[in-house]
Assembly symmetry: C2
Homo-oligomer: 105 residues x 2
């Protein structure tokens, strides 16, 4: 059985946000993002792909299509194809996100 | 911004497992499954689709491709195309799963 545990995979780096693969196929990625205070995923966009962020731990300041909003544990947001999106850990605690993206860019 | 909150969406029924849509497109589903004690998603399979289960709350007894295993909060498992899969809440507490499936069957 292909089991993944956040507890085993979670990893932070002083250098930059950590992107840890959970599952993938030619059609999608499913990753964990681990962000220390101040770290971010810069704003960017994908012409074809949807990206779903789910906050597992902490608080993330999300930017989607020109709008900024802080989301916390148990909240999710989507960037649809062509929408600018990014996330920053502007809090003083660690941030862990579950991220689904399909199709792969 | 298309935000969804587990807190707002979560819902249990005495009748059967509740499947609550978070996000979707023609390519995928992203749902919450809410199972009370004793409820299950019967074992089935999809020829083309991957299904990822992520345990948000509680404990689930998963069956994937002939193997049974209990997974708990923070653990995830995948059923690849053609693999029999199902899940049962065999515990005495509520079970909440985040489920991602692509492509749509």
């Amino acid at each position: 059985m292909e089991v993944r545990s956040v507890r085993d995979l979670i990893r932070f780096s002083d250098e930059k946000m950590q992107k840890l693969p959970l599952f993938e196929s030619p059609k999608y990625f499913c990753d964990l993002y681990c962000l220390k205070t101040g770290q971010d995923q810069r704003i960017h966009s994908h012409n074809e792909s949807d990206k779903i962020y789910f906050v597992l731990r902490g608080k993330g300041l999300f930017h989607i299509a020109g709008e900024d909003r802080e989301l916390t544990e148990g909240e999710a947001v989507i960037a649809r194809p062509g929408q600018d999106h990014g996330v920053k850990n502007a809090s003083n605690q660690d941030l862990v996100l579950l991220v689904f993206m399909t199709p792969r860019p």
